[in-house]
């Protein structure tokens, strides 16, 4: 396992030249990154909202919501009972206008967009127009929360698999550099040009349509098994093809580029030195090849993850996976604007979180962060 390399043993270098203890440097670095990422995420969400509101779509969502709420309240209002229909409508209309004003819908574009930004940040995403969650709620927040877990399950399993498979195979290949296996993987690297859903289609064709060994799509079989173990087994079976599709679409290129990093680092003088000292190849790999390469690998993994999130939307659609990607597809089909805007915002958050998580690991892996000789890539 690559575990030993991931945890950096402390105590090797005590206090640094600048006098701050290591853990404090680490903390300062992580906090700085966290603040940066929060700011970038907010800016990203703001841009998303501006794109959405250029055509006044967010305004429409808000107005429809206010109309609905005011009318609901008017129905329950005792004091309006005795009014004539015309009177009643006039009063309701006046209240709606008042509410528009109160919520700033007649303010200028920029003032409104800042207001919406705040609502998006606090996940106050409004009500869906047509879609509902499985539990029957039409609050966008509820719908999204329900879809979050399947998405995370699918992507976490695929991404972990790609990461560890990538490191292992890349290390093994860099050891057998030039062998037929190595050549095969290099030759297969260009296949990563196709996104995961594309391989998904082929996998469905072979394993679901022709061989009938795996299901076409979905997350559990219908009706869902009541037994917990059986439920997990069914989910696992449905998980296989989409995970395989993601692995197929990115693993060869990942292995190729990581293997190249490993090869570049294993030609360093200190590796020769270690060999001369008579260390075993396992020790050399862990201490002198994997350790210095890890920051570079994490950076390239971050970029890979960002592109995987994008491919995810179509992958979930192709596999009928009840996650966020499928949700955004359904919302598009039904022109459910609040859900589309809400999901886009959530995607911005997920990307921000992914970047932060990898930054955190990066900080653990890169000794320069602790010693204070410069942070991560520019």
């Amino acid at each position: 396992m690559a575990e030993p390399a991931l945890t950096v043993e402390s105590g090797a270098t005590p206090a640094t030249a600048k006098g701050l203890p290591q853990w404090l440097r680490l903390l300062v670095y992580i906090l700085t990154r966290a603040v940066t990422i929060v700011i970038t995420s907010v800016v990203a969400v703001y841009l998303t909202i501006i794109v959405a509101n250029m055509g006044g779509k967010v305004d429409e969502i808000r107005k429809a919501e206010i109309d609905f709420n005011v009318r609901q309240m008017a129905v329950a209002d005792e004091s309006l009972r005795h009014l004539s229909v015309a009177e009643y409508n006039r009063v309701v209309e006046a209240r709606i206008q008042q509410e528009y004003e109160r919520q700033g819908l007649n303010q200028n574009f920029w003032a409104r967009s800042v207001r919406y930004l705040w609502k998006a940040i606090t996940l106050d995403l409004g009500q869906a127009e047509r879609l509902t969650s499985d539990s029957g709620s039409s609050w966008v927040r509820q719908i999204i929360l329900e879809r979050l877990f399947p998405t995370l399950l699918l992507f976490a399993s695929a991404q972990l698999l790609i990461f560890f498979l990538g490191i292992f195979v890349a290390l093994a290949l860099s050891r057998r550099y030039g062998s037929w296996l190595d050549r095969t993987v290099i030759a297969l690297a260009p296949t990563s040009a196709a996104p995961s859903w594309f391989y998904g289609i082929f996998l469905i064709l072979f394993f679901a349509a022709m061989l009938r060994v795996f299901p076409f799509g979905g997350m559990v079989k219908a009706p869902p098994p009541t037994d917990r173990f059986e439920y997990a087994l069914s989910v696992l079976k449905h998980l296989t093809l989409p995970v395989l599709a993601q692995v197929l679409s990115s693993v060869f290129h990942t292995i190729y580029s990581w293997r190249t990093f490993f090869l570049i680092y294993s030609s360093e003088d200190y590796v020769e030195m270690a060999k001369a000292k008579g260390l075993t190849s396992g020790q050399i790999e862990r201490r002198y090849v994997l350790r210095p390469t890890l920051p570079t690998i994490l950076t390239s993994f971050t970029l890979l993850l960002i592109s995987l999130w994008t491919g995810a939307i179509v992958l979930e659609t192709v596999f009928n996976w009840p996650g966020l990607g499928r949700l955004i597809y359904e919302a598009i089909q039904k022109y459910d604007t609040p859900v589309v805007v809400g999901t886009t915002v959530i995607y911005a958050y997920l990307l921000g979180l992914t970047v932060f998580l990898l930054d955190f690991l990066y900080a653990l892996a890169d000794p320069r962060v602790k010693v204070g000789s410069g942070g991560r890539r520019a």
């Binding site: 970038t40 990203a44 998303t48 250029m54 030759a187 996104p195 076409f216 192709v318």
Partner: protein
């Protein structure tokens, strides 16, 4: 020029580059053929497909070449037209404008499977009173099956496959099966081979009146690519998908790469606040979910491929490659020749565009070629989500149609495989060439 030839020769030593170039050549050839053979407006008209455009092609037909691999041959579409065969009509005049007419639609049937549909399209030619006919079906073994009787209007379609009375008469199977089935085989349904006739016996009520028309026994194979649920010939979209994919991929990749390069050169050259701004924008852009934003643009504003293309370029300019270029320009900036340029008084624009940018073009070219497939697939991404261009036929839209019609569940594999294979070939071509170029231009990777 010399450098170009040397690069080319070196590329020849990489098998993947050769394969890549061949694949790209293949796609380009398709694209050129498509643009020449089917003009743009014609392609759009065909793909939009009104009522009459695809009336003579079968639904869900597989490509013709599938028969080469099958022992039991699937039928091709058979069309019998009265215009092409004047002997098919016999008219016996009775005087005073009144005459008897017999129209025979005769054809050989040799396939091992039943047709997918059977229809009769008739045009009655008359001034006031339309001809009236009885329709019979005569099988090769001489059985006569009554179909229907009807008045032949100016444009009359008789969908035999949907006639429930015929269905009952042939033993409660679909008419296109019952009419062709061999009665001597009882355990399963097999078509009887031989000469079939559809006979119209009837009367004309005017001197110049007549009946024209065609009998269509729709097959189960069509053309080189087959047809979809709306009877459209898939080859139109397969052919036209190539120029669209190439244009989209090339414009997006070249546009993005050049602008990105110019921006990072500027960031390095001017430094300070400009550098800071460009780096922050890049960080924000990394978190910006590109596909959902493109989807929002598709829903709220426009689905036109060219609008989406513009948005793609804008969103990809601040990609991660800006940082790679930046670190290269930082080295270039320190070079002696840049200092020389500055000392003779070259302006900033001149230094950036004439001295700095050409220096890293060798790095730019491989990454440019490698990103082309990403953009080609991005178009397919949007199309498969139902956000494809509403009028243009593309590979992605074929996949979307196939997906929405459940092609995989129903076994219409050709429908999914054809666009998928073309997408794959196009993606692989550029990707393989790009990988080889990368190794040629980046000496550090050479030999690895």
């Amino acid at each position: 020029m010399n450098a170009l030839r040397r690069t080319w020769e070196e590329l020849g030593r990489y098998p993947s580059a050769v394969v890549g170039v061949v694949l790209i050549g293949f796609i380009v050839a398709i694209a050129v053929y498509a643009v020449i053979a089917i003009p743009y407006s014609e392609a759009i008209r065909l793909w939009r497909g009104g009522d009459d455009v695809w009336i003579e092609t079968p639904r869900h037909a597989r490509p013709k070449w599938i028969n080469w691999f099958r022992k039991e041959k699937l039928p091709e579409t058979i069309i019998v037209r009265t215009q092409e065969n004047p002997d098919a009509k016999t008219v016996i005049p009775y005087g005073e404008g009144f005459s008897e007419i017999q129209v025979v639609f005769e054809f050989e049937y040799t396939a091992d499977d039943f047709p997918s549909e059977l229809s009769l399209f008739l045009q009655g030619v008359y001034a006031r009173e339309a001809p009236y006919v009885d329709a019979f079906w005569i099988t090769p073994d001489g059985r006569e099956i009554r179909l229907a009787e009807f008045t032949v209007g100016r444009s009359y379609s008789y969908r035999i496959s949907q006639d429930n009375q015929v269905r009952r008469r042939v033993g409660n199977v679909a008419p296109e099966i019952g009419l062709f089935a061999d009665p001597s085989v009882t355990d399963k349904l097999v078509p009887l081979k031989g000469t079939y006739k559809l006979v119209l016996d009837g009367f004309l009520f005017e001197d110049d009146a007549t009946i024209e028309g065609s009998l269509i026994a729709y097959g189960k194979v069509h053309g080189i690519a087959g047809t979809d649920h709306r009877r459209r010939d898939l080859s139109v979209a397969l052919l036209w998908g190539a120029p669209i994919a190439l244009t989209f991929g090339l414009v997006a990749a070249v546009g993005t790469s050049l602008i990105t390069m110019a921006l990072s050169a500027m960031a390095v050259w001017f430094g300070g606040i400009i550098d800071w701004i460009i780096r922050r924008i890049t960080e924000v852009n990394m978190i910006l979910p590109m596909l959902p934003i493109l989807m929002m643009i598709g829903i709220f504003y426009s689905r036109s491929l060219w609008v989406i293309l513009g948005a793609v370029v804008v969103l990809s300019i601040f990609g991660s490659s800006i940082l790679t270029y930046r670190s290269m320009f930082l080295q270039v900036k320190e070079s002696a020749y840049i200092e020389a340029a500055r000392s003779y008084g070259a302006g900033s624009a001149r230094i950036i565009f004439r001295y700095m940018m050409p220096k890293i073009i060798p790095v730019l070219i491989p990454s440019l070629v490698v990103t082309i497939p990403a953009f080609v697939f991005l178009e397919a991404n949007l199309a498969i989500l139902g956000l494809g261009d509403p009028i243009l036929p593309t590979w992605g839209k074929l996949l979307n149609d196939a997906y929405e019609q459940g092609a995989l569940y129903q076994g219409h594999y050709y429908w999914v495989l054809e666009p998928a294979v073309l997408l794959m070939l196009c993606g692989l071509g550029f990707s393989m060439l790009g990988f080889a170029l990368d190794r040629v231009f980046n000496p550090r990777l050479r030999g690895l």
